[in-house]
């Protein structure tokens, strides 16, 4: 009787043990994770903290952040090669060229490395329906179309559901930008013609100076016609925030990301809000997943799976608490990997 109870107890315990408890078990000491964005950009800086947090918590052998790609696929490949030569064996990458990075993923996988596509998912237009076009082990990135839709809906609400909207974004020859443009158009279409897209300005995320000039020109030329601005790229977001603050025009702005200038403008009421992404979570969760794949402790149930790293609307109401929500979401995504998306020994 006692023996039966003991077996039942062990079985029950096995069922209720949280996945996170398992997470610490595998030996990741031989895994060295390299987080390599396409080049220097403020968006990727939280990867460093995320990677370090994962390395400490899960006892990963090492972590490094390398931003020497200078937005050139050849230079990024060279940086990756140099890291591989130094013994790094798991790579979380944001590819410079969405169509070329798959070749890099395939090359790295052929050499036995674990590869994650962070902050972007190359391949077909619909990353959820066409994950097979992505050659990395998994993708962990913002659903850019969804984030843009969320931002556009928020600014339309602020505009009172009518008026002229401007969309400021990044590189026109980039699948993510096209998804963002579609997200904004979808939100506008839902207004039944009450909101018009005045213009979409692309290719102004190269640097803050370029973005500032473009926004200043826009506001000078059409400032009085504009009721709302939605920005889906970092530099235009900062530029739009500064421009609206200086001109004091009654333009509603929903920015992107959480630059201190943007957060300060939300607190002061200069702009309505921002849609923040989750680069910390990409670094943190991505590091664990790559370590688990690299150590052969786990395998992906669906190779190349796309997972949304989350996007969050931040307004004056939650500007002080959104980071807690974001961290909790990251932990939940990690748990989902451990329990739903991967098969572990």
């Amino acid at each position: 009787m006692k023996k039966k109870s003991l077996v039942a107890g062990i079985l029950a315990l096995a069922l209720v043990v949280p996945a996170s408890a398992f997470a610490a078990t595998p030996d990741f000491s031989k895994i060295k994770v390299a987080l390599v964005p396409g080049g220097a950009h403020p968006y990727f800086q939280p990867w460093i903290a995320g990677g370090k947090a994962a390395a400490t918590e899960f006892k990963i052998g090492g972590t490094v952040f390398n931003e020497t790609g200078e937005w050139d696929q050849t230079k990024q490949n060279a940086a990756i090669d140099s890291l591989a030569a130094q013994g790094y064996n798991a790579f979380g990458l944001f590819g410079v060229s969405p169509s070329d990075i798959n070749t890099t993923f395939s090359n790295l996988k052929a050499k036995g490395f674990a590869v994650g596509s962070l902050a972007s998912c190359p391949g077909g237009y619909d990353i959820v329906k066409e994950p097979q076009k992505n050659s990395a082990d998994f993708c962990l990135s913002t659903d850019t179309g969804k984030a843009a839709y969320l931002a556009a809906k928020a600014v339309i609400t602020q505009m009172g559901g009518k008026g002229n909207l401007v969309h400021l974004t990044g590189n026109a020859v980039d699948a993510n930008t096209i998804r963002r443009m579609d997200g904004v158009k979808k939100a506008i279409a839902e207004t039944g013609g009450k909101v018009k897209l005045l213009t979409t300005i692309t290719d102004i995320d190269t640097d803050l100076q370029t973005a500032t000039k473009a926004v200043s020109d826009l506001v000078a030329a059409k400032g009085k016609q504009i009721n709302g601005i939605v920005t889906t790229a970092y530099n235009p977001a900062v530029a739009a925030t500064q421009s609206v603050a200086s001109t004091k025009l009654p333009i509603k702005v929903i920015a992107i990301d959480d630059d201190p200038k943007i957060l300060s403008a939300i607190k002061s009421g200069t702009i309505s809000g921002t849609v923040v992404q989750n680069p910390w979570g990409q670094g943190y969760v991505g590091s664990w997943v790559m370590a688990a794949l690299g150590s052969k402790a786990c395998t992906m149930k669906t190779p190349g799976l796309y997972v949304d790293s989350g996007s969050f609307l931040v307004t004056k109401a939650n500007v002080g608490t959104y980071n807690t929500t974001r961290m909790a979401t990251s932990k939940q995504i990690l748990k989902d990997f451990q329990t739903k998306y991967m098969t572990c020994k």
Binding site: A40, V64, E67, T68, E70, D72, Q73, T74, K75, N77, A78, A79, D81, S82, A84, A85, Q86, G87, V96, S97, P98, S99, D100, N102, T103, T104, N107, K111, G124, Y125, A172, V173, D174, A175, I178, R179
Partner: protein, 342 residues
């Protein structure tokens, strides 16, 4: 010639100094971190990238030989790659015919540029800059219009993988195979080096191009058809830029608008470090390869040492400045020695 004079002449040759510097730095980086000697992750990709950048250096060298600059080399490469990529995607051409379409496109763009310089009598700097802007808009328009969200031609003709991944090691004669570190991508670069070197060293055309670059007025008075030579130099520049663009597409795996966007600086670095004059009249074809490899060895060497972006660029700039000053330093020492004798 006495052995001492011969040694002095060899040591005075910029290419020899550059080669010694490149090999010295290669060994230095390798001794500091043995990872730098990795065949798969350092030497092979270094030579493969060097092949592409050498060809773009040669494209710039052709313009430099007549005292011109070609600021549109990168965009010519992009348009040529676009033409080749479209031919693979829409017409399903084999690798070589598609490559030829790319090369013809590049040569045509170069010829048009040369013709505009000759007819307008506007400085090549301005014409090629304008061409660069025009082609940038054209490339973006085509990719956005015809490829949608992918923004690339992704069809890979049979044989593309071969050029990217294989080495001479797969070719064996009497049980002896080629070196594993020798990428096949070096083959077109070597062919280009030989042909361009032969043209400038051995043919009348090459001599006339250099004479045009050295002194336009004197060349004209000597009966050289300088207008045609200017068009020829730019045609060659476009042709070689096209080759580099297609080679880069083969290396990276697809044909995108970003091809060539990073070509401008390396296109000057290789030839100028190698001894080609910016004012025209003198070229160093082999020096272009050595100069290109020097920059790549420095960059990858520092990268393997784990140096960050800012330090990497500062160190790269300092080493290149030193390399570019070598000629002046040599002259200074010679002058001091001569003064000591008198």
């Amino acid at each position: 010639m006495s052995p001492l004079t011969r040694i002095r002449r060899i040591v005075g040759d910029q290419r020899v100094v550059l080669t010694l510097l490149t090999v010295g730095l290669f060994l230095y980086f390798g001794m500091k971190n043995s990872a730098f000697f990795s065949t798969d992750f350092v030497i092979y990709p270094l030579l493969r990238d060097g092949a592409v950048l050498t060809v773009i250096g040669l494209a710039q060298l052709c313009a430099l030989s007549i005292g011109h600059l070609n600021l549109a080399v990168g965009r010519m490469a992009a348009v040529a790659a676009l033409a080749a990529g479209a031919s693979y995607q829409y017409w399903h051409l084999a690798l070589i015919p598609g490559l030829l379409i790319g090369l013809v496109t590049g040569a045509l763009l170069g010829a048009i540029t040369g013709w505009m310089i000759v007819k307008s009598q506007v400085n090549a700097f301005i014409v090629t800059l304008a061409m660069d802007f025009a082609l940038l808009g054209f490339v973006t328009f085509i990719y956005v219009t015809f490829t949608g969200a992918t923004a690339a031609f992704t069809t890979k003709p049979a044989g593309m993988e071969y050029w990217r991944n294989t080495s001479l090691h797969q070719y064996c004669i009497a049980g002896h195979c080629g070196p594993r570190v020798f990428p096949m991508m070096l083959v077109p670069a070597i062919i280009a080096l030989i042909l361009v070197g032969f043209m400038y060293a051995k043919t009348r055309m090459g001599r006339e191009l250099l004479a045009t670059g050295s002194n336009l007025r004197a060349a004209k008075l000597s009966g050289i058809p300088v207008d045609r030579r200017v068009i020829m130099a730019h045609t060659l520049s476009g042709l070689l830029a096209a080759l580099a663009g297609v080679m880069l597409a083969f290396t990276n795996g697809s044909f995108t608008a970003s091809i060539g966007s990073q070509f401008m600086l390396p296109s000057f670095l290789g030839p100028v470090l190698g001894g080609t004059l910016l004012v025209g009249g003198a070229v160093q074809v082999l020096g272009t390869f050595i100069g290109t490899m020097l920059t790549l060895v420095i960059r990858q060497g520092l990268s393997v040492q784990g140096i960050g972006l800012e330090t990497l660029n500062i160190a790269l700039g300092l080493v290149l400045l030193t390399a570019l000053s070598l000629g002046q330093i040599q002259k200074m020492f010679t002058s001091i020695r001569m003064r000591g004798r008198t």
